[in-house]
Amino acid sequence: MIRVKNLTVSFGGKTAVNGIDFEINKGEIVGVVGESGSGKSVTALSIMGLLSDEADICGGDVYFEETALLENGRKAEDSVYRTFRGNMISMIFQEPMTSLNPTKRVGAQVAEMLRLHTDTHKDEIRGRVCETFLSVGLKDPDELYDKYPHELSGGMRQRVMIAMGIICKPALIIADEPTTALDVTVQNQIIALLKRICSENTIGLLFITHDLNLAKRICNRVLVMKDGIIVEQGATKDIFEDPRNEYTKRLIEAVPSRIHKKDRGKPGKENVLSVSELNVFYRDGGNSLFSGKSLRHIIKDVSFEIKRGEILGLVGESGCGKTTLSKAVLGLNKNYTGKVEHFSEYPQMIFQDPYSSLNPTKTVGWLLMEPLRAKADQKPGVRYSAEDIRSAAYDMLKKVELSEDTFRKYPAQLSGGQRQRVSIGQALITHPSLVIADEPVSALDVTIQAQIMELMLKLKEDMALSYLFISHDINVVYQMCDRIMVMKSGEIVETGDTREIYESPREEYTRLLLAES
């Protein structure tokens, strides 16, 4: 149905997609897997003719049945694309939060598809949209029609996107990481829905993902991409059970799973952190003279402790209060009751997004030295010479396995994995005993993820650290943690040793979380 031949796209001289060929047949689900920068999304956008102006299509053809959308690197007329987009090929994007227009009612946004591509009568449009809402599992469609995107949850928004994608009965849906921004439980529902809808209506699906587990579950056929090239393609079963390509093998191995976990030494007896009956609040309301203030109760009666050398995992879905808890523990949020006792100095934090959590105007060296300077400022007794600080920073570079010339580089010159190493270095340079890591590997590709996890474990041994390890990824947590707390709506529903929890979860919610991934 769709044929892509020798497609080559570059950005400012850098090749993003390098001469790829593939086809998608009617009703087939084809997965494109690969790490960030492998050219997955560029491929999808070139089929739709949606690449930005900076992109340079150097060559190749894209045929939809008999129509050429791209021939010898030349795009078809805009009007040709317009009749295909939405009508024959529709697209679902990663971020349901931002992919819908925030100032238009969701019903109207779905209805726009009908207005653009069909001559459905005005009076029938609402009915058609509501029917489609029902078919993607959205309840009370009539009420939903008049809502705005911000009034819906992430899962509902993605369902609305799917409704928008299927309402004109296209032949192909391109889904670019459609579930990456969603919680695991929701993720599964959306995957099941996509699969059902495609098979019911014989719609082809091009499913782009970095998550190999997902591709394995949904796709008939898989393409593995690396650096703009398809390194391997074949039936899903063959690829996963008998990968031929070296890179494919590495990719599959790097996926965190619950199979291999090394045994580790027992953590010590003494506490580095003890939290009892912690309740954390957020202040609501404006800062105007007359606006009322109210406190929102986020964390409810949480008690736990972390032993020296222990890695305590904190899992739960987004919005359950994981980050709020960590902020209160660090003293960044003062609106709490209960007791937080630190038995070590300067607990530190590692953040999720290494792209935005490092100051882009400073060099890596400066960033690494800053915590020491701050420490010297706070404590009158502590004095470091400039030379001490410098050598400590170089030392830290070695510890996080970065080369010495990184010292003078800026964060923008580093890859995601390197940046996360810098964040780790920043956290460890003051020699804390406790480090709070808030989703430290969630923004990274699987192969990088594995390296960072390895590094964190090694540093834990070398520097006698304890971690509070926050993650939504059950498998990552399984590999990293000695003990796990499961959090739901601000409460700890279950605590226990990692093995225990995974093998015999007591709570229904824990079981649900585990089953979903």
Binding site: M48, L50, D78, Y81, R82, T83, F84, R85, G86, N87, S90, M91, F93, E95, T98, S99, L100, N101, P102, T103, K104, E112, M113, L116, H117, Y148, H150, E151, M161, M164, S288, L289, F290, S291
Partner: protein, 319 residues
């Protein structure tokens, strides 16, 4: 409803504080009102009499509350400087009531021009793919922003008034007599006010749209098969207007409070000119009321912007 009540309370408190500040300022500024009203040759008895009449022999706090009480009742006091006839002093209410329609009509007209021109211009600019158009608009708006309004006013007077004789410079028809003629006299001043603001607003809107175009929902809109025009007007414009509205609010507040320079250049008897002459003659009752008027206008415009925000962006009222 609660929101509205809160806003009204903020408004009254602000007005109160501003009026106190203005009152205090006039206590500090040197110069004797009585002296300036009666001239140098007045007898001490007459001076004493007038001082008593104007309550200037009372303590300031008492005077302030006396004044405030009257204002709340709707009695805005009398001007120290203008008089209705030989025996009667000019009430501030009448004085301002006479000038306000001029300033408000001028403001309305220039705001109309600003909105009607800058929005299509900004969208056109954001959509422009040709370098020449982009450069031309960039230079044009830059120039329009750089020229002071009064200079445009002088140019207009010369070009349309003296050379083309479309209006007679310096003349003015009262709105009581000939409303149509009155509006024709306002057109050129309004254009003079609008031109620099149009440059700024168009530029601002263009930048806002270019930022907005990078959003994910724009890509979604294209993927649905929308034409570029439809994406721009149907999806991007409304979102891009958000910051522009705040900016427009600032401009509108400035214009409604009186365009002093333009009123002077075109000899229009508006609020701006009244304010200048009252300050220089220490006509305290007039100045105080004008300050309150300006404060009210500014707060009211921001309040309207707030409401507009809520209308445009459902996320704000949804909270």
């Amino acid at each position: 409803m609660r929101y509205l009540l809160k806003k009204i309370m903020t408004l009254s408190v602000t007005l109160f504080l501003v009026s106190v500040a203005a009152f205090i300022a006039f206590q500090i500024i040197p110069g004797d009102v009585v002296g300036s009203i009666l001239g140098t040759e007045a007898t001490p008895e007459r001076e004493e009499e007038l001082r008593h009449e104007l309550m200037l022999d009372r303590p300031p706090v008492e005077r302030y509350f006396h004044w405030l009480f009257n204002v709340v009742k709707g009695n805005l006091g009398v001007s120290y400087r203008y008089s209705k006839n030989m025996n009667e002093m000019m009430p501030v209410k009448e004085l301002i009531g006479d000038k306000l329609p001029v300033t408000l009509s001028l403001a309305a007209l220039s705001i109309l021009f600003i909105i009607a021109v800058s929005i299509p211009l900004g969208v056109l600019w954001a959509r422009s793919k040709s370098r020449a158009l982009d450069a031309a608009l960039s230079v044009l708006t830059q120039v329009s922003m750089a020229i002071p309004a009064f200079f445009i006013g002088i140019l207009m007077t010369y070009l349309f008034g003296i050379a083309l004789k479309l209006f007679s410079p310096g003349a003015y028809v009262s709105y009581h007599k000939d409303f149509k003629g009155f509006i024709t006299y306002l057109i050129f001043p309004a254009i003079s006010i609008a031109i620099p603001k149009i440059g700024m607003t168009a530029r601002f809107l263009r930048n806002s749209m270019l930022t907005e175009i990078k959003s994910d929902y724009v890509r979604t809109a294209y993927s649905k098969g929308c034409s570029e025009r439809r994406v721009m007007y149907g999806h991007v414009l409304k979102n891009a207007l958000m910051p522009v509205i705040t900016f427009l609010g600032m401009i509108i507040a400035e214009i409604v409070a009186g365009s002093i320079v333009i009123e002077q250049v075109f000899s229009l008897p508006g609020i701006g000119r009244l304010l200048i002459s009252s300050i220089s003659t220490r006509d305290f009752p007039v100045v105080e009321i004008l300050i309150l008027y300006i404060t009210f206008v500014v707060i009211f415009v921001y309040f309207t912007v707030d409401i507009l925000y809520r209308v445009i962006d459902p996320r704000i009222s949804g909270k």
